[in-house]
Subunit: 379 residues, 2 copies
């Protein structure tokens, strides 16, 4: 099959800096398809907090610098998203595994999902099962946050009954609990639902807001056992420590804390953990160091560690396949709902698009609003 | 054998509080020896920073409250020391393993080594090998700090060639390095010497002081590869990060940091570690939380953990025996020198003894001077 060199629209930056300033929109013709590459039309490109750090230049995984798409070298943004297969060169290898119209999500980091079209190597893509069709919003939010939640519940304190325990950790007979901050984040809501699916109790911390009752209800509807604001959690008047001990009870055990914020309540979460607890950090939205008392490490054998999916996937390719299939089935079966999302359409002149993007970046940096999914309108 | 009920002198506290205030000296008659107990004469009772926390009531391992030795319930101080066997009731079990005049160190926590005499269960004692006789100072400082150093070099990043690696960690072929703060502490000097014995490089951080050149020389003589003051370490002018990278070199790897202080230089130590580094905390002399950037956990797979010998010995009784024999042999062979110590004699009235103790406590709290060994003078 011979393709015309398709025109694509894309979001790029030439230099690292403030995301609300350096992003630009750009048009270019896609290069010729190489053997093994797949021509994609992106349906939705997800915006994650980590994208901010990519643009700032402080994220270890960086998009390729491209010299072939404009007058100066630029990087194309976008790590997560869903695309439709438009075609590929006649090539036995790809043909057996993919057909035009199939949906794919990204199997490698920083492939550039914030563009309308792209040529991507087949080996970097994860085809979605046609047998359990997901909505575009479901698919666009599947590849990063739910796997992060799955791994964090499985790899440190083995709470996932579908996977064998490793590293000498045996699964306890006590009912297991997990406490997490940023509980309404995309990872947080996946944690709540996977934990419910696996019989694990959750204590969920969120920021106070005018619509806090509504947020508490929505997380409870997803399966959250308890939802507290940070103020409620830290307040001495409420005697929250005691309450949490009662929730967990003598037949329960709280050994896992998940942290994407940092700051004071992270240390308080760690203090609540039983002997041999694990504090797993996967984000640092408060931009402060974790402040942890030495005594927790020495006497309560706390282990503070981190999780980054990009690291994990490099060493676990086959486990990832199995996990993605299970996650897609859970989403398809209604057991795992995607986070609340808002589709932002990109259309008009490059400058109009850039203005829309800058507003989105400001919102993401402030941690406000739903998860944004970018969609390029057809021209 | 029938013993007269021996008079003993002891250091006690009735209530937790400021170590420079609540310690008292006390005379009492030892109770009758029970079956399985051994009558000891303490030669030296060591004073460790953790003893301060015991007296303050903030240490998880507490001495027994004794109602049999005075008008009010008191706790007898002392966790580490060396004693001579004065005798035991005729008892086949003990007789086969011990004889009068043998030297023993403590095999259980908080047995009360700051007294002149005591009855201690045989099962709580570790007899020292008569074949490799140690000096009293060597023996008094053997049971806690050198084992702590041994375990921290063995259990997290496997640097000890005498023990099999565990937990899936394989020993690397690269020359291994360790960085530690409080490097002139009793644990610190054991780390330096065990590391030298095992071919591991050490980067050692100490507080600046008028006699810093002398201290650097003495640690270098023990086998320290590099010694830096905290100021030298943190200074940007000196470009110390770059220097340390050069010291470790491409054929070397720095994956272990040992922390007994806390504070700013702990985070800096952690930042220097290679991927999959381990920060092991065994003390918190700066009395501040560890402040660690989330990015180290997420992207560099830092694991921050702790070590407390009292926890470890409970689950590793036979490994401990082997380790103690090896440590005694290293000390006897001149490969492991005890830390610098000062023997403080206790004599005179109870009030005079209490005054001496309070001065010692003040010094220990300020982290000044050599390690103190208490010795009760015969009356």
């Amino acid at each position: 099959m011979i393709f015309a060199r398709r025109r694509a629209r894309t979001v790029v930056f030439a230099e690292h800096g403030d995301p609300a300033k350096v992003l630009r929109a750009h048009r270019y013709r896609l290069p010729k398809l190489d053997k093994g590459q797949v021509r994609l039309r992106f349906e939705l490109g997800a915006v994650n907090p980590a994208d901010i750090n990519v643009i700032q230049g402080v994220y270890p995984s960086k998009p390729q610098v491209r010299e072939d798409i404009g007058p100066e070298p630029v990087s194309i943004m976008g790590n997560e998203g869903v695309a439709t297969v438009e075609g590929f060169e006649e090539d036995g290898e790809v043909e057996n595994k993919l057909k035009v119209g199939d949906r794919v999500v990204m199997g490698a980091p920083q492939l550039g999902t914030w563009q309308s079209h792209a040529n991507i190597p087949f080996s970097s893509l994860i085809p979605l099962p046609a047998s359990s069709p997901l909505s575009l919003r479901q698919a666009a939010t599947l590849a990063i946050n739910p796997p992060t939640a799955w791994r964090m519940l499985s790899d440190f304190v083995p709470l996932n009954p579908e996977e064998p325990a490793r590293g000498g950790e045996s699964k306890s007979r006590k009912k297991q609990w997990v406490i997490q901050n940023g509980a309404n984040s995309a990872v947080g809501v996946a944690v709540i639902q996977l934990a419910r699916e696996w019989g694990v109790g959750t204590i969920n911390l969120v920021r106070d807001r005018p619509s806090i009752d509504e947020l508490k209800q929505s997380l409870t509807a997803l399966g959250a056992d308890h939802v507290l604001t940070y103020d409620e959690f830290l307040s001495r008047d409420n005697n929250t420590r005691q309450k949490i001990k009662e929730w967990v009870g003598k037949d329960g055990e709280l050994r896992l804390a998940l942290n994407c914020v940092g700051g004071k309540e992270t240390a308080e979460m760690a203090k609540l953990l039983a002997m041999d607890g694990r504090l797993v950090t996967y984000g640092g939205m408060a931009k402060t160091a974790l402040a942890l008392p030495p005594s927790l490490f020495i006497f309560k054998r706390l282990v503070s560690t981190g999780f980054w999916l990009s690291n994990w996937v490099q060493t676990h390719p086959s486990e990832r396949q199995t996990m993605m299939q299970r996650l897609a089935a859970l989403v398809h079966g209604g057991k795992l709902r995607e986070p609340e999302t808002e589709v932002v359409s990109l259309a008009g002149t490059d400058e109009e698009v850039a203005q829309v993007l800058r507003n989105v970046m400001t919102r993401v940096q402030e941690g406000r609003g739903k998860k944004v999914l970018l969609h390029w309108k057809d021209e």
